[in-house]
């Protein structure tokens, strides 16, 4: 068992999160994918903090949580307001703007 395992896990979670943004039409699910990506970055930070014996990684991860929480509020508010207008939270329905 090595700390690298955590890092690889984080990489896998990050990739899965990014794929979710690309394949899921439901904006809420896509957004959860983004959240997963942020969490993967947090895991990386925490692991590196332990590796370097330096707590700032943990502190950064903590701030990321705060940022993510604020982002979630805004994001869900936007999704809800769009849902109220269109009756749908599908990303593919929001495709009026194009060239």
């Amino acid at each position: 068992m090595s700390l690298v395992n955590y890092l690889v896990l984080a990489g896998i979670l990050f990739a899965i999160g990014s794929a979710a943004v690309l394949v899921r039409r439901n904006s809420i699910v896509a957004f959860m994918g983004v959240e997963l990506m942020l969490n993967a970055a947090n895991l990386t930070l925490v692991t590196f903090a332990r590796m370097h014996g330096d707590l700032s990684g943990q502190v950064i991860a903590f701030f990321v949580m705060v940022v993510a929480a604020a982002e979630v509020v805004i994001g869900l508010a936007i999704i809800v307001s769009i849902f109220r207008t269109r009756g749908s939270a599908s990303l593919d329905d929001a495709s009026l703007l194009k060239s």
């Binding site: 690298v4 979670l13 903090a49 707590l55």
Partner: protein
């Protein structure tokens, strides 16, 4: 510098948790029901919290449970309820090549990130025993309020923005006078007095009431045997989830008069008389 020994227990913990977490994360790609996904992700978050604690980040582990599982994921679930809890999503892809691109980029990312960390000659882990001497929360707090105090203050702006934003997108000011029960009742009577229909005065019917159709998605039946659309809540109607009332003929043929679906159900109800 003291090295770090990683206990065998931690290894076991990792190998149990990690596959579960990946599985949970994969629900993002393959599960159909949004609620299932949300719950799976909440599970992944808990898994992460455990890993944080294993990584000597006690404070963060607790914060993870509180912030993510407790607040963020609940907010997600709340919104999912709002937009339709049981809506399922068709997983057929409409954009040509999108799946391939997604698979390609996800695999690419995973391989590249994995390669970067495995190929790197990482330094010998130090561990946080020294840094956490005064307990992890205290040590983290010292850093937050010294080196990172500016970032800390700045997140305040973020939270205010979030609050203002959510409020302005969702909060409606009341325009005009407040309508209470009394004014409603008086208005109804007034309309009745002005020659309106008597049905204006009484309450509107609720949704279907009997037997197997006593659910919120079945419209009520009026005296003439027609469905009363307004009896179903707006939410269900908007989502298109109300059920169609079977026609009177169908029911009668099947020996199913209105409101009594089963043959063995008591007969002789009002509905039967109407039929006759």
């Amino acid at each position: 510098m003291t090295g770090l020994t990683i206990s065998a227990g931690e290894g076991v913990l990792f190998w149990i948790l990690a596959p579960l977490m990946v599985l949970g994360a994969l629900s993002l790609l393959f599960a159909r029901r949004t609620v299932h996904i949300a719950v799976s992700i909440a599970g992944v978050m808990v898994g992460l919290a455990v890993m944080y604690i294993a990584n000597e980040a006690t404070f963060l582990g607790v914060a993870q449970v509180v912030v993510y599982t407790g607040a963020v994921m609940m907010l997600f679930v709340f919104v999912i309820m709002l937009v339709g809890v049981d809506s399922t999503e068709s997983l057929t892809e409409t954009l040509r090549g999108q799946r391939w691109l997604a698979a390609l980029s996800a695999l690419g990312l995973a391989i590249l990130l994995g390669a970067v960390v495995t190929r790197a000659v990482l330094p010998e882990p130090v561990g946080l025993a020294a840094a956490n001497a005064d307990s992890n929360p205290v040590a983290v707090a010292r850093l937050v309020f010294s080196d990172f105090v500016f970032a800390f203050e700045l997140t305040g702006a973020l939270l205010i923005t979030a609050a203002v934003g959510a409020l302005s997108l969702t909060h409606r000011v009341r325009l005009g006078i407040k309508v209470d029960q009394r004014t409603l009742a008086e208005a109804k009577l007034k309309r009745y007095g002005a020659g309106g229909d008597a049905t204006l005065v009484v309450n509107r019917p609720g949704p279907g009431v009997y037997a197997r159709h006593n659910s919120a998605d079945m419209p009520a039946v009026d005296a003439a045997g027609n469905p009363v659309e307004e009896s179903i809540t707006t939410v269900l109607r908007v989502r298109g989830q109300e059920r169609e009332l079977p026609s009177a003929e169908e029911l009668a043929d099947a020996g199913h008069p209105y409101g009594s679906p089963a043959v063995e159900a008591p007969t002789g109800t009002q509905a039967k008389e109407i039929d006759a």
